[in-house]
C-alpha cells in the first residue's frame, strides 16, 4: 500500500513538472551552448557589452548581442535550444512566455494617460542635451552621439528569432517596443510587416491588418524600390486580402 502511494506521488510530481516547464522558462539560468563570430552579453543595468564564451550563464536581466555573420545558441531548458542569428539583440526577459492577455496589458501599460499637452513649452532641443555615459554620470556635457542606425535592426532580428521559435506574443512586445524606440527607423516597413505576421499568427486579425497596412504605407512613403521591399509589399497586400476574407 505504501509503495503504491509513493509511485502515485512520483507520477503526480512528474506530471506537475511537465506542466510547469513552460512557466519555469523564466527564472532559470539560460546557458550559451554555442557561439559563432562576435557575440557579446550585457549584465543587468550595465552599460558595456562584454565578450562571452560557451557555457556562460545568462540571468533574467541580461542581454545578448550577435555581430555580423555571428550567431549563438541558447539552452533554455534541457530539451529546448534557441538560436539567435546575426546582428540580433535579445533580452533574456524577451524569452519569458507570455499569453495574449499579458501581451496586451504590457503594450497598454506604457501609455501615458490623462495628460495635457505641455510638451511644446518644454520641448527639448537636441543641442542642449547633456550626454551621460558609462561610469561617469556627473552630468558633464558631451557632444551628442548620433543615434546608431543599426540598433533597430538588432532589435528587429531579435524579434525575428522570437517569431521563428513561435514566441509570437513575445515578438509582438519586442517589435512594439522597437517601433516606439525607433519611430523613424528606415526599415522599409520591416518592423510593421513582422508585427503583422506575429499578430496574424495569434489570430489577431484587426491588429494584423493594421500592422500590414502600416508596413505597406511605409514602403510607399519611403520610396523603397528594392526587390525585397517590393516583394514585402506584395506579401502585405496578399495578407491583408486574406485577412479581410476571414473577417465576419
Amino acid at each position: 500500500m505504501g509503495q503504491l502511494y509513493i509511485i502515485r506521488m512520483r507520477v503526480t510530481a512528474g506530471i506537475l513538472m511537465l506542466l510547469l516547464i513552460p512557466s519555469l522558462t523564466f527564472g532559470q539560468a539560460i546557458t550559451i551552448v554555442s557561439i559563432k563570430g562576435d557575440v557579446k552579453i550585457r549584465r543587468g543595468l550595465e552599460e558595456a557589452w562584454a565578450p562571452v564564451t560557451v557555457g556562460s550563464i545568462l540571468k533574467d536581466m541580461d542581454s545578448i548581442l550577435t555581430g555580423e555573420n555571428a550567431e549563438a545558441s541558447l539552452q533554455i531548458h534541457q530539451d529546448h535550444t534557441f538560436r539567435l542569428g546575426p546582428q540580433a539583440m535579445l533580452d533574456m526577459a524577451d524569452l519569458r512566455r507570455i499569453d495574449q492577455r499579458e501581451m496586451f496589458l504590457l503594450l497598454m501599460s506604457e501609455k501615458i494617460n490623462n495628460i495635457e499637452n505641455r510638451r511644446e513649452k518644454s520641448r527639448i532641443r537636441l543641442g542642449n542635451v547633456t550626454v551621460v555615459h558609462g561610469n561617469d554620470k556627473s552630468g558633464s556635457a558631451k557632444t551628442v552621439k548620433p543615434v546608431d542606425a543599426m540598433r533597430w535592426r538588432q532589435e528587429y532580428n531579435g524579434a525575428r528569432a522570437l517569431y521563428g521559435h513561435d514566441y509570437f506574443t513575445n515578438a509582438i512586445v519586442k517589435l512594439s517596443k522597437t517601433g516606439k524606440r525607433f519611430p523613424n527607423a528606415e526599415d522599409c516597413g520591416k518592423i510593421s510587416f513582422l508585427l503583422g505576421q506575429s499578430f496574424a499568427a495569434i489570430r489577431q486579425v484587426g491588429q494584423a491588418m493594421e500592422a500590414y497596412q502600416a508596413s505597406a504605407e511605409k514602403i510607399r512613403t519611403m520610396g523603397c524600390n528594392d526587390s525585397e521591399s517590393l516583394r514585402r509589399l506584395q506579401l502585405t497586400e496578399t495578407a491583408v486580402a486574406e485577412l479581410r476574407d476571414t473577417m465576419p
Binding site: A93, R96, E102, L105, R119, S122, I124, T130, V147, R181
Partner: protein, 530 residues
C-alpha cells in the same frame, strides 16, 4: 326653483374666482367648528314687533353649529364626518290677547362624506377650495307650544330621515395648522329637494389641522457615494457626487426638485443642484456635490461631519424636506492609498515650491529645458539636505496612509516613499517636467511601495544620450503617436544619490514590472501625476 338655481350659480362663480389661486399643501387630518345658517323650507328669517309692543312675530330659521372632522384617504381625497345641531324657531305673541304660539324644530344631521380638494397643490396661495358630498341621517325634532290665557299646550314629535348633501367650500390657510373655513351645502333631506327641511346652508368656521402634509415627492434612498472625505482633494468633490438622493415624484404632475447640500463647518456655502424636472411618477437619483472651504485643510484628525440636505420641490407651494447623512473628514494629510488621488498632494503651483525650484536650478547653472539634468540637480539638492526616510506615525485603529506636502517634508526633514515622491514630483512639475508614479503592490510583500518616473523630454531615439542600456529607461507613448523617454527614480534612495536611485528604480521596474510580470498582472501600475 329658479331662485335656488340662481343662488347655486352665484356661489359657483364666487368659488370660481378662487380657481386662479390654489391651495397650500393640506395636512392629513383636521377638526373644526362652524356656525351656520340653514335655510329650511324657504323660510325667511324675520321679526316684527308692532302696536306699542302689544304683539310680536319672530322667525329664526336654521341657525346652528357644526363640528366637522376630516382625514385624508388619498392625495386630494378626504373622508369627512360632520355633525351639527341646527334649530328653527318661530313665535307669535299678543299681550292684549294673552296668547302666544311658539313652534320650533331642531335638526341634528350626522353626515359621512367625501371631500375633494380640486385645485392642484402646484399653485401658490392660501385658499384650499373643495367640493364635498355625503350621506347620513337627519334627526328632526319638532315642538309646538301654545298658550292662551292660563292654558298651555306643548306638543312634540321627532323623525329620523335620511338624506344627502352636496356642497363646496374653502379653507383659508392661515398657518400650516390653522385655517378659516367657509362652507356651502345643499341638503336633500329624505332625498327630496322639496322636503320641508331641504335647503341651502352657509357656514363659517375654523379648523385646526395636524399630521403630514400631502407629499408631492418622496425621498426613497440616500446612497452615500463618498463617506470618507480626504481634505487634500476637497476641490474634487465640487463636481464629484458625495451622495445620490433617490427621489420619486408622487405629485401626479411634473415637479422640479433642487437639492441643497451643506456640511457644517466644512462647506464654504450651501450648494444647489439646480432645479431638475421630474416627470409624473418619475424616480430619479440626483447627485449631491458640496463646496468645501479651504478650512478643511486644517483638519487635524479624523472626525465625523454631517451632510445636511434640503430638498425643495416646486412648482406650487414650495416644499422643503431635510435629511442628513454622516460623513467622516480625515486628517489633512490622510490618503486612502488610491493612486489616482496622489496627484492632489503634489503641489507644483505652490509659490514657495516654484521659487525654490527655480533658485536651485539657476544656482546649478542648468538649462531649464534639460529635464534630465534639472531632475538630477534637484535630487542632489534634496540629498544634500539630508532628508531621511521615515515611516508614517502608527495611529491606533487608523489604517490610512499619510502624505506630507512637499513643504512639510522639507520642514520636518523626513518622509516615507509617498512623501518623497510628492516632494520630488512637486518640484519637478513646478519646472514643467511631467511625472508619473509607479505603484508596486507586490503580492509577496506586506507593504505597497512607490517610486517616481519623470519625463526626460528626450525622443525615443535619443536614449543613447543618457544610457546605452535601454533597460534603464522607459519609453512611454503619449496621447498621440509621440513618445518620450521617462526615467525611473527611487526617491527613498536620496542618501545614495541620483544615479543609485535611478539604477534602483530601473532594476525594480525590470524585475517587478517585466520579469515578474507585475505590469501585466496589474500589481505594478503607472499613474500620471498631471
Amino acid at each position: 326653483m329658479r331662485k335656488k338655481t340662481t343662488s347655486l350659480i352665484i356661489c359657483f362663480l364666487l368659488f370660481f374666482g378662487q380657481f386662479v389661486y390654489a391651495q397650500g399643501l393640506s395636512r392629513n387630518t383636521g377638526v373644526g367648528v362652524r356656525a351656520s345658517f340653514w335655510s329650511m323650507s324657504d323660510h325667511v328669517m324675520s321679526y316684527n314687533v308692532s302696536g306699542n309692543r302689544q304683539s310680536a312675530d319672530i322667525d329664526l330659521s336654521g341657525v346652528g353649529v357644526w363640528l366637522f372632522l376630516f382625514s385624508r384617504v388619498h392625495n386630494h381625497w378626504f373622508l369627512t364626518f360632520e355633525s351639527g345641531a341646527v334649530g328653527s324657531v318661530s313665535g307669535r305673541g299678543d299681550a292684549e290677547l294673552q296668547a302666544g304660539l311658539a313652534e320650533g324644530s331642531a335638526v341634528t344631521p350626522i353626515l359621512f362624506g367625501m371631500r375633494y380638494d380640486f385645485l392642484s397643490s402646484r399653485m401658490p396661495g392660501a385658499l384650499q377650495p373643495y367640493v364635498s358630498g355625503g350621506i347620513g341621517p337627519y334627526w328632526i325634532n319638532q315642538f309646538k307650544a301654545e298658550a292662551r290665557g292660563d292654558e298651555e299646550e306643548v306638543t312634540g314629535q321627532s323623525a329620523l330621515k335620511y338624506g344627502v348633501y352636496a356642497g363646496a367650500g374653502t379653507h383659508i390657510i392661515l398657518t400650516s395648522w390653522f385655517a378659516l373655513n367657509f362652507d356651502l351645502k345643499y341638503h336633500f333631506v329624505d332625498f327630496h329637494a322639496g322636503h320641508d327641511y331641504s335647503g341651502i346652508e352657509f357656514g363659517l368656521g375654523l379648523a385646526v389641522m395636524w399630521g403630514k402634509k400631502r407629499e408631492i415627492f418622496q425621498i426613497r434612498e440616500i446612497e452615500l457615494v463618498v463617506q470618507e472625505i480626504y481634505p487634500v482633494d476637497y476641490q474634487f468633490y465640487n463636481s464629484y457626487p458625495l451622495a445620490l438622493v433617490k427621489i420619486k415624484n408622487v405629485a401626479g404632475y411634473p415637479i422640479e426638485i433642487n437639492v441643497r447640500s451643506n456640511i457644517k463647518g466644512y462647506s464654504e456655502r450651501p450648494k444647489d443642484s439646480g432645479f431638475i424636472k421630474l416627470e409624473k411618477n418619475e424616480l430619479r437619483s440626483i447627485p449631491v456635490t458640496a463646496i468645501f472651504s479651504p478650512a478643511i485643510l486644517s483638519a487635524d484628525r479624523r472626525q465625523p461631519a454631517v451632510l445636511d440636505l434640503a430638498i425643495e420641490a416646486r412648482p406650487g407651494t414650495s416644499v422643503i424636506k431635510q435629511v442628513h447623512a454622516q460623513l467622516f473628514v480625515h486628517h489633512r494629510q490622510a490618503w486612502n492609498g488610491d493612486m489616482k488621488k496622489l496627484k492632489y498632494y503634489i503641489t507644483p503651483e505652490e509659490k514657495q515650491v516654484i521659487e525654490q525650484s527655480k533658485q536651485i536650478i539657476q544656482e546649478a547653472n542648468v538649462d531649464f529645458s534639460d529635464h534630465f539634468n534639472t531632475a538630477r540637480v534637484l535630487f542632489e539638492y534634496f540629498a544634500g539636505l539630508g532628508l531621511a526616510y521615515r515611516n508614517d506615525p502608527d495611529v491606533p485603529f487608523y489604517q490610512d496612509d499619510r502624505v506630507q506636502s512637499a513643504l512639510e517634508t522639507l520642514k520636518v526633514g523626513s518622509g516615507d516613499c509617498d512623501d518623497l515622491v510628492v516632494l520630488y514630483a512637486s518640484f519637478l512639475q513646478s519646472l514643467g517636467i511631467r511625472t508619473a508614479s509607479v505603484e508596486v503592490r507586490d503580492p509577496q510583500k506586506d507593504q505597497a511601495h512607490l517610486y517616481l518616473l519623470f519625463d526626460s523630454g528626450l525622443e525615443p531615439e535619443q536614449g543613447e544620450l543618457i544610457s546605452s542600456n535601454e533597460k534603464k529607461y522607459i519609453i512611454r507613448q503619449g496621447p498621440g503617436t509621440r513618445s518620450s523617454i521617462w526615467i525611473p527614480i527611487e526617491t527613498t534612495r536620496l542618501a545614495q544619490g541620483f544615479h543609485e536611485a535611478w539604477n534602483a528604480a530601473a532594476l525594480a521596474y525590470q524585475e517587478e514590472g517585466i520579469i515578474r510580470n507585475g505590469l501585466a498582472e496589474g500589481w505594478v501600475t503607472i499613474i500620471d501625476n498631471q
